[in-house]
């Protein structure tokens, strides 16, 4: 789970889920606690699903929140 997907790709990560920034990957402090939780819960869920997904090349998984 990384914001800088190009870096993750360059170092060879295979399953990648984007996060929202460097200093706060999973919760923007300028938004409400509720929004932050929603985003974190969603993206961690995407990462968990990614772990169960068969891939044959470096893959960036889509997020909705």
């Amino acid at each position: 789970m990384a914001n800088l997907i190009p870096i993750a790709k360059t170092v060879g990560a295979n399953r990648m889920v984007p996060t929202i920034s460097i200093p706060y990957p999973l919760g923007d402090p300028s938004t409400s606690e509720e929004e932050q939780w929603k985003l974190r819960y969603h993206r961690v869920g995407v990462a968990l699903n990614a772990l169960t997904t068969d891939i044959n090349e470096q893959t960036v998984f889509d997020v909705e929140v």
Binding site: L4, A8, K9, G12, L26, R40, G45, L51
Partner: protein, 350 residues
């Protein structure tokens, strides 16, 4: 006087040709074959010759390397030469394999020589000094001379010049270098720009290396039975940083017990904070779950989506951290995770 040991194959070690390529490794307390030439040119003495058949090394590499390292254990030597291997592929790979092992085990300089077509060059140029050599033994004297001249330079403690000046294949090891003619970067930049504009040849000072790929792990079949660990390069640690992980150029990592928490408490609560110096710490200090999402993982654990969240999370700092150090720490952490039967990891980076 400096002491050197030379590695040769069955042919140059004067055992014989292809028919004895299965010759088992041996060490002799004398200069055999090409080792004589090394001895003549070296500012020092060749004390031993190691001889091993190319096929023996090729089919039993691990065993051959172990046995040779065993021979060397009680020997004193300052430098190690292997080859020259010319265009002989098996010999080149053997020189590389034994050279790499000797360098790692005894921390002495290892020098070899191979023709650029030799597959050993690509495989081992990062690990040992390999000089471009001739295609065949007709170039023996030239190739050995290049190797020994460089060896003499190392033994004398003289400052080594960049690879392009010393002549060995580039190893992917980059260091800063003050230009003798003191050409400032602004001149170099304009020169490169004008050449690029005019379609002339130019040389980038940072050639883009090939990108590493990593084997893709199989997917998890049943997440609801898996134990998953959190690992971060975001520098989240207990408030007193008990493992003294460095804020930049880290060489240390830590693991922190979280089995008893539903979410990570923050710096104000004197619990967790970040010591990563490469980003603004405010958001991570205020809520470390933004970097290490313990709270979200707990929720998925309660919901039964995952079997469990591992009782420790792992942390280090990923700013200015060298790739070698990062890889070492990654291996150490992986080792622990495997021993504890962890099936998957979510790694968060900042």
């Amino acid at each position: 006087m400096a002491k050197a040991i030379v590695y040769l194959n069955q042919f140059f070690g004067q055992i014989g040709g292809e028919e004895v390529a299965d010759h088992e490794p041996e060490i002799r307390n004398e200069k055999v074959g090409a080792a004589m030439l090394y001895d003549q040119l070296l500012d020092g003495e060749v004390t031993h010759t190691i001889i091993c058949g190319d096929n023996f090394m090729g089919s039993n590499e691990e065993q051959a390397v172990d046995r040779i390292l065993g021979f060397l254990k009680d020997k004193e030597f300052d430098i190690f030469f292997a080859g020259p291997a010319f265009q002989a592929g098996r010999y080149g790979i053997a020189c590389g394999a034994i050279g790499k092992a000797v360098k790692e085990e005894f921390d002495v300089s290892v020098i070899s020589s191979m023709n650029e077509e030799n597959p050993g060059v690509k495989m081992y140029k990062k690990d040992i000094y390999i000089f471009p050599g001739g295609k065949s033994a007709a170039k023996m004297r030239d190739d050995v001379t290049k190797m020994v001249e460089f060896g003499n330079k190392i033994l004398s403690g003289e400052k080594l010049l960049p690879a392009e000046q010393e002549g060995f294949f580039k190893r992917g090891i980059r260091h800063q270098y003050f230009l003798e003619d003191e050409t400032p970067a602004y001149e170099r930049a304009i020169d490169m720009l004008l050449k690029k504009i005019n379609g002339e040849d130019f040389v980038s000072e940072l050639p883009i290396p090939e990108i590493d790929t990593v084997e893709i792990a199989d997917p998890i079949k049943d997440l609801s039975k898996a134990t998953i660990a959190l690992v971060t390069s975001g520098g989240i640690v207990p408030i007193d940083n008990p493992d003294k992980i460095q804020s930049a150029s880290a060489t240390r990592w830590g693991k922190y017990y979280i089995a008893d928490v539903d979410k990570l408490k923050n710096r104000r609560e004197e619990s967790f904070k970040t010591i990563h110096a490469g980003y603004d710490p405010k958001a991570a200090d205020a809520d470390p779950n933004r970097v290490v999402p313990v709270d979200a993982m707990r929720k998925y654990e309660q919901e039964g989506k995952i079997g469990s969240l591992y009782e420790y999370f792992y942390s280090t700092v990923g700013t200015g951290t060298s790739q070698d150090e990062a890889a070492r720490m990654g291996k150490e952490i992986t080792q622990e995770l495997i021993e504890n039967n962890i099936q998957a990891v979510i790694e968060t980076s900042t």
